[in-house]
Point group: C2
Chain length 214, copies 2
């Protein structure tokens, strides 16, 4: 289906939005410049006029796609709230963010594995744009965990392991949507949506129950 240009949208932006749509669904290798042009309702030359090469267009799309993701993680880890509350709001906001951008995780995973070194560079430049320091964030998270451990509220879990657990539980259900929907939920879209909606509560309960000492 051809994506109509918004009235206030410049051609340059319109191309970017259409390219985002196509790249996210099909990946770098699976995307044809001609297809982006067709979907945007313009000539293929115009793509090159605005973005020179496929690679450059792809990198722009890639950067824009992650604009919202890292700041959300950062804001939550840095905030002053107690750990359990932090986890609850993180899961809630991250699920909502992913519901709005369901294709991004699978896209990222494929491109990262396809070209780890150059994608690592892209990530670093995004980090710089956002002024994020991973070491600092991990240090803050570590400190907070240790505090709760000494208070006797928390089992002693390594902060990296906890972080990976949380992200796994949030992101994975989106990257295997077709499997969950097709095999576990009778291929019913609304059942899948309900399943995901339910997870906003289930997952934070699951995590907190896993790490708290009662």
């Amino acid at each position: 289906m051809i994506l109509k240009k918004e009235p206030n949208e410049t051609t340059e932006d319109h191309i970017l939005h259409v390219a985002q749509e196509v790249f996210l669904k099909k990946g770098m290798d699976g995307t044809r410049m001609q297809e982006i042009a067709d979907e945007a309702g313009i000539n293929k030359s115009l793509l090159h006029y605005y973005y020179r090469t496929k690679q450059k267009l792809f990198e722009k799309v890639f950067k824009v796609a992650f604009k919202h993701f890292f700041p959300t993680i950062k804001a939550n880890i840095i905030s002053e709230k107690p750990l359990f509350e932090k986890i609850e709001t993180f899961v809630e906001t991250y699920y909502t963010l992913l519901q709005k951008n369901p294709y991004i995780p699978a896209f990222a995973i494929h491109e990262i594995n396809r070209n780890p070194s150059s994608v690592a560079e892209l990530f670093k430049s995004i980090f710089q744009d956002d002024n994020m320091e991973v070491e600092h964030m991990l240090y803050e998270l570590d400190k907070q965990i240790q505090e709760e451990v000494t208070k006797g509220n928390l089992v002693n879990i390594e902060s990296r392991q906890l972080l990976v657990n949380i992200l796994s539980l949030c992101i994975f259900p989106f990257v295997v949507k077709p499997i969950i929907k097709g095999i576990l939920l009778e291929n019913d879209e609304s059942k899948y949506n309900a399943f995901i909606e339910e997870r906003k509560k289930v997952v934070s309960q699951f995590i907190i129950s896993a790490i708290s000492i009662r």
Copy 2:
């Protein structure tokens, strides 16, 4: 690097193994028939001689790749062990299986999202080959969970949610290996391996702690 043919290996098998290597890393779209031929040290025509088309070769690779995965899940769910023990052995064996086949999950995720309907068909035919019935497995798991709940050992968690949680915690760390390694573990391969090895214990503890009533 060119993959040497084993002495006892037929050319047909050799091609399949090389194709597996390349398809797993680069995906269907990213793979060139010429590249498979080069890596196998043979002429491109020979690929078509044995496997007709790229699509057919891909489907063969796809089926072979998942040969071990579903039976492992099935065997564990069906077995007669108590639930917590089941979870422990499942996590352990699944992590070991993934350590041996680290590229398979990211590969599967990409192909599934790229072409959900045709991949769903492929999965169904694999299920048939393995004589697996998802409904039956879910029913068994459900029954066991309900038993533990009534015994007062377990919080009331939906079996599908639990299953997705377990699989998320097992599979996700492999699909984002470059991220974990690059951002959390100073790009150190041995640190990543240790991190994964540690998860065999961490994850099953995490799950059991999350769902058990103490």
